[in-house]
Amino acid sequence: MLDDINKDKKHSSPRTKSSSISGGERDVDYVRPADIPDQELYHGHSFLTKWIFCQDAKVIGVQYTLTAVFTGVVGLILSWMMRMQLGFPELFPFLTAESYYQMVTMHGMIMVVYLLTALFLGGFGNYLIPLMVGARDMVFPYVNMVSFWMFFVAVVVLMASFFVPGGPTGAGWTLYPPQAIIEGTPGSGAGILLMLVSLSLFVIGFTMGGLNYVITILQARTRGMTLMRMPLTIWGIFTATVLALLAFPALFVSAIMMTLDKVLGTSFFMPVMMKAGELLAYDGGSPILFQHLFWFFGHPEVYIVALPAFGIVSDLISVHSRKNIFGYRMMVWAIVGIGALSFFVWAHHMYVSGMSPWFGFFFATTTLIIAVPTALKVYNWILTLWRGNIRINVVMLFCLGFIVTFVNGGITGIFLGNVIVDVPLSDTYFVIAHFHMVMGIAPLMVIFGAIYHWFPLITGRFLDEKLGKLHFWITFLGAYSIYFPMHYLGFIGVPRRYFEMYNSPYMPSTIGMNEFISIAVFVVGAAQFIFFFNVVKSIRLGKPSGKNPWKANSLEWLTPDVPPAHGNWGEKLPVVHRWAYDFSVPGAKEDYIPQTTPPSEVIEAEVEKT
């Protein structure tokens, strides 16, 4: 810090050194020498070590992404089948009540854990962290590789549950005991067991990856990359990873305890129960204990998905509106603050569980406090756009789509955060609409935006803009057609998770609405295949992008090779002199100043002082 100030005095005051640094020659080293030696890497030689058991974080990131997207397609197909039943009941005889519950369960678990968590942290995390902080790779590439294969095995185990006798579990994605493991619930035999094993494997695998992400960000940054110069993407992924490392233990423990309840007949979560007039062997356990453990994981999980999305969207908005992010420090503290608060709100998922109302009062208060940093972030995104040089490309469209859906879902969250409003709305379609908007559609918008943004880095080619715009508009308007009516369904009291509700005489208006929603789901689902087609087509035939096509500042675009080679940086690691948001700086030659530009090259410009 002191050295920095000294150097600021020597070099960054305008004009004083202009004679000696003509031509932008980097003769002066402005940044302190490295704290850490250069990293030694294992270079694979065979196909097996280069592409399968690969230790390169970028390949691992792509592996994570492909596996997660595969599970996502399964989840999408499940949602189609659910909507077939809800929109057009009795039209498809293979959709029984049992299979419907199994689809609901698998859809929820796949989308939340195996798609979104794995995609944001495993996919984007692996690809972007080393590149954005200027490291050659993750700190422990071998452990990172094992992490992916653990995740892969978890997915295999999860998918295997579709094929076991009794099918996958149909307990709802929350897996509440006692019904999750007693006979009568679909998949209460092998299905729930495989689900619990898969979750445990996921947690173990994620922990290996997560430790890598955290330590890479804290200890392996390149010279000059201070924490407050990191792109917000990294801040989001970092905070989400810390949350995951502290929240997944609760899921892990509850999975172990429920496995024991199932296999050994312990009674951790199982109270005294009668079944068909007979007393079950279970005695004296506490189902609410499971709910507390599950939601101690479950609520931070929402932010594990949301925080990387917040971070990524901040960067995308900044780059594509050619303006520095408004209130960078505020954004960082908001991410960290939301992360910390997310550990104190879990019981707002349990207002109707029968816990003490005073408990609900406390959790309603903490829940509403989270709205403050979250709203602050939304204002900052809008203020970043304000008077920016906005480029309405596909990336920006998805960012704007994100802001709208996120605000929408956030506002319904305020309804549900209050105990007195939540109690009548609880377990209705209002809840479905809320969480799909806020942690389904909104993060997906960011994922798509991010893929359109970083695809040129990964493949060297652009995705097709026309197909992209088609994909965006169908997805965005379609998502609204699906979830907006669901708010209404919730208000008139349509309960969630019901297989069939047409016989309820007091809600005739739901029939047409359900048909409408179902058709929208089919269309939106099909539109995703436009995106897959676009990806496959553009890998081979897309327009070549060249280096740094978006004219971004952050390090991932400044590698010597595009796409980046193993080791990322060639001979010399980059040296960072500024934050990632020097866009449209007054006095600068271009409207962007990459993070590696030394002060000598921008002596006329009003750049950030750190």
Partner: protein, 235 residues
């Protein structure tokens, strides 16, 4: 501290974040593996906390009586029942192994290959003794007293469930630690950390800091045992 620039540093909350954030590494001079182990232990702390809090919650809410630990965990020596005898010995052995581990770390940093290896080996033997005594305790409870995960003759059925789960999970941690201690004892004796011999799986060089990282894990496992001891056997 006479540097005049010191006054220009930001103070207060902002100063705190600059202190942490302005260097290349957040933990200055800390080895990557060591930092990683600390964060892992934090995560593992949450695992054990969840187990123990679940245990406390259930113990506070069960309707049946909780078995009286000093009777259940007692041994008869020459016809006289001694409460908590085995547990006392187990705890003593485990804590002692923490001491030998600390010595191994010290000799590791002195690059004293033989003594370092010896103390890693002693630690491994201590851990193995602990696991052995735990196996004895489990078999006594299962075969002699009839304690099962789903019930027991002394009272609340959750007693056996939590006992086997928590001590089993801790025992697994100790066993994993013992395996690694034996592996690392061999690596130290062979001089891997002096010659820079590459790891079998990772193909990376390592040095004596690996012993300290292993030590962190081992001390953590001991510390967890202290909590299990207090909450299970003394409550």
């Amino acid at each position: 501290m006479t540097d005049p620039n010191l006054n220009k540093l930001p103070g207060g909350f902002k100063g705190m974040s600059t202190d942490i954030g302005s260097d290349q590494t957040a933990f200055k001079g800390v080895n990557w593996g060591k930092a990683m182990m600390w964060i892992f232990l934090l995560s593992d702390t949450f695992v054990f906390s969840c187990f123990l809090i679940a245990y406390m919650k259930v113990r506070a809410s069960v309707v049946d009586d909780w078995p009286y630990p000093s009777e259940v965990f007692g041994l008869e020596v020459a016809g006289v029942p001694v409460p908590l005898l085995l547990i006392a010995i187990m705890t003593f052995v485990l804590i002692t192994s923490s001491g030998t581990m600390a010595l191994a770390v010290k000799y590791g940093y002195e690059k004293n290959r033989k003594l370092c290896g010896l103390f890693v080996l002693l630690t491994a033997i201590g851990g193995l003794t602990f696991v052995g005594m735990q196996a004895f305790e489990w078999s006594k409870l299962i075969f002699h007293d009839g304690v099962r995960p789903w019930g027991n003759p002394f009272g609340a059925p959750q007693f056996g469930a939590f006992f086997f789960m928590i001590t089993g999970f801790h025992g697994t941690h100790v066993s994993i630690g013992v395996i690694f201690l034996f592996i690392f004892a061999r690596k130290v004796y062979r001089g891997d950390f002096d010659t820079g011999r590459r790891g079998f799986f990772t193909t990376m060089k390592s040095d004596y800091v690996a012993i300290e990282i292993l030590g962190l894990y081992w001390h953590f496992v001991d510390l967890v045992w202290v909590f299990i001891f207090a909450f299970f056997y003394l409550w």
